[in-house]
Each structure stands twice: as structure tokens, then as C-alpha cells.
Symmetry: C2
């Protein structure tokens, strides 16, 4: 990965910035949801307007893949060649400082800029959809009814090369002003985690269909 | 709140769209992180580029409030009067359909467009910071050392009126193709939730400082 560009170099709190592919990939692989920012097509002389859409994604080496209905506004716009900002954040905790000012979050985030390319070839599209599926629930793809030609046609897949990406990470306890450490105020971290609950079977599920191994973890 | 505009009306899967303030506010009040999308200042003849930043926020009636260092790129740009896209999403589960195509997420999300206004007056700024703090950890504000004049100066607060906002909600089991219900594939929902773990005291915390009541829930 090349050196960080002006817009990916972490300017604020630069010690939180990371540019090594291994660090960026580890965050992407642990993240569940991403956000895609893009500029809406201009409707008049109005100033350009950004739009942010949450979506699922997967990683294929040095690329992130995301998808959706070919009809969705985001993918229509992005497929036409608009630049995107890809962002994924994992919140690890709330940092409870002694001062209001030093309250913070522990988090791991990745931001990448670039031109997303539409994946047109069916075999590559199927492969990309499997990668996105595996990212969310590993092995699920092997157990389900795979896309028909028509479903594949109705799905757009986009691929963004991580040429211009950075990670930002905050970990550890609060950092308070020296004088504040003497205050009788409890300080520390409230860890946060996204956890899975108990599976809820579809009410239309016929009896006798076992929960597959890939969902038992 | 006025009728949805062309860019907030949910075009794809319109039955997922909601425009009532009460529904929008309920999602905002339950959400933890938001994302702010904005267009980076143009550096040349390049096409406009969106940027997405995750941040904390609060709600004050029909406005969302967010903050950060006055030095951060986002707030520099937004305070100058650029339009923003505010987005907050709560993921409630992974929808496991019988077909790869009908896999989905259960979620509640809000998207709002508008011009964020910078809050300049100190008393209003303090009030906004308390609202953001209360949104993250209720009552914490009452127990901590409040911002000094210098800290207040170093913090930018922005306020966005929810004039042009919509919510999108998906709940319930998968919706498969009729023919697929006969397949012997387990289907249902894997619920996801963000949960708090056990508090981690700051290693620099002197002995004898109790955990305050507001952190015991």
C-alpha cells in the first residue's frame, strides 16, 4: 500500500493513525457493517451533497466488496463512476475520564477513498457475493440456495481497491489532565461489544430442520 | 416535520420507510454512534469527494448535536457551511434466508440532510455538550469536572435541524421465494446486540473511589 495521502493521513491525534495493510485488514475482517459515502448527482446549481449509506461488505485481498440491489440509489451512483469514501468502525468501549472534555471512545476504524468499480462478470460476481456472505456468516453460502441468473442480474457488486486507506485506533484508559488525577471521580473504560443472541427460527420453518453447524458458534 | 423530500423518501423497498418524528427520534435515542458525511473542499478540478466520519451525538428536540475538536477536518469543513448527511444505524440481527439472495439485516436507521450550524454561544455549547454526554452515559455529566473556558473554546459543537429526515426499519423473519420454503434449509434470525461488559478501572485510579450509581446499570 502506498504512503498515506493528504486526505488519509490522520491529522488529528496522529499517534492514532495506522497505515500498514495488516492492521487495516484486521479491522476490516473484524468489522460487520460499513458505510459508503458518495456525492449525490447534482440536480441544479446547488452545492454538492454527500450521502451516507450503511451496508454489508467483504474483503478480497487488497479490495473491499459491497453489494446491493442494482436499483438502489447508492449503487446506481457509484457504478456510474463516482468516487466513494468507505468507512468501517468497531466500537470497543466508552472512555470515562475525570473531565467531561477527555471522555472518548475506544474504537478501531478504517477509512478508504477511491473509485469503486462495478463487477460485471457473472463468475466474479458470484465469487464476490460468496466473500461478502462468508464475511457475515462463514460457511452459510455452502448451505443455501445460490443466486439464479435473474437474481444475479438484479444484484450489483462493487469493488474498491484499498490504495488510499488508513486506520485509526484508540485503546486503553482515559488520558486526563495531570491535575485531574487527584479528583475523587471514578474513571475507566466501559467495554462494549456486539454479541449474538439465541437464534430465532422462521415461523414458517417446517419441523425437523436442524440448526446447521455454521450457526452454532 | 415536512413531507419527505426526493432524497429522503425511501425509494428502494418503500414499505421500510418511516417519516414520523416519533419513529425517527426513537431510533436516534437508541443509537450510539452516528456518521457524518460531507463533501471535502475541492482541491482542484477533481470531481467532488465525499468523506464519512464516525462520531458521538445527542438529540435536542428536532435537532441532532455533534461535536469534536475544532481542529478536526470534519468540523472545520462543516462549520464553514457545507451540507451534511447525518446517518445512524442500529443493527438488530442477521436475517438468514433459504436463498443467498434474500439474506438481509434487521436494522433501524435514520438519514438526515441539511446544513449544520455551529453553536457559538458558550452557555448553548455547554448545554449541547451535556446533551451529548447524557446520550452516551446518562448522569455522567453531573459527576465529572466540567469544561474550562479553554476546553470549551477547543470544542466545536454543531447542530443539525431534522427538517429532511427519514427512518428505515427492517424487522422479522426472512422473506423467501415461495418455492424455497420447501427447501430443507434452516432459516431465521440471528439477533445482534451491543452490550456493555464489566467496567475496567483506570490503573491510575486511587483506592477507595466508588463506582458511581450511573455506571452500575
Amino acid at each position: 500500500m502506498p504512503a498515506p495521502s493528504a486526505r488519509t493521513r490522520v491529522a488529528r491525534l496522529p499517534d492514532r493513525g495506522h497505515y500498514e495493510p495488516a492492521e487495516i485488514y484486521a479491522i476490516l475482517d473484524a468489522a460487520f457493517l460499513c458505510h459508503i459515502g458518495f456525492v449525490l448527482p447534482a440536480e441544479s446549481q446547488d452545492p454538492p451533497q454527500a450521502c451516507v449509506i450503511p451496508t454489508l461488505f467483504g474483503r478480497d485481498g487488497d479490495r473491499v466488496l459491497f453489494h446491493g440491489s442494482a436499483a438502489s440509489r447508492m449503487l446506481r451512483t457509484v457504478a456510474a463512476g463516482v468516487q466513494v469514501c468507505f468507512e468501517a468502525t468497531i466500537v470497543d468501549g466508552i472512555v470515562l475520564a475525570r473531565s467531561a472534555f477527555h471522555h472518548s471512545m475506544n474504537y478501531r476504524s478504517v477509512v478508504a477513498f477511491g473509485q469503486a468499480q462495478i463487477v460485471t462478470e457473472d463468475a466474479q460476481k458470484l465469487r464476490a457475493l460468496k466473500i461478502i456472505s462468508d464475511h457475515i456468516v462463514p460457511s452459510r453460502w455452502n448451505d443455501v440456495r445460490l443466486p439464479t441468473a435473474q437474481e444475479l442480474k438484479a444484484t450489483s457488486v462493487l469493488s474498491l481497491k484499498l490504495d488510499e486507506a488508513s486506520a485509526k485506533i484508540r485503546t486503553g484508559p482515559p488520558k486526563d489532565e495531570d491535575a485531574d488525577y487527584a479528583l475523587p471521580i471514578w474513571a475507566g473504560v466501559l467495554p462494549l461489544q456486539q454479541v449474538a443472541g439465541d437464534l430465532i427460527p422462521d415461523p414458517k420453518l417446517p419441523p425437523g430442520i436442524p440448526i446447521p453447524a455454521h450457526l452454532k458458534r
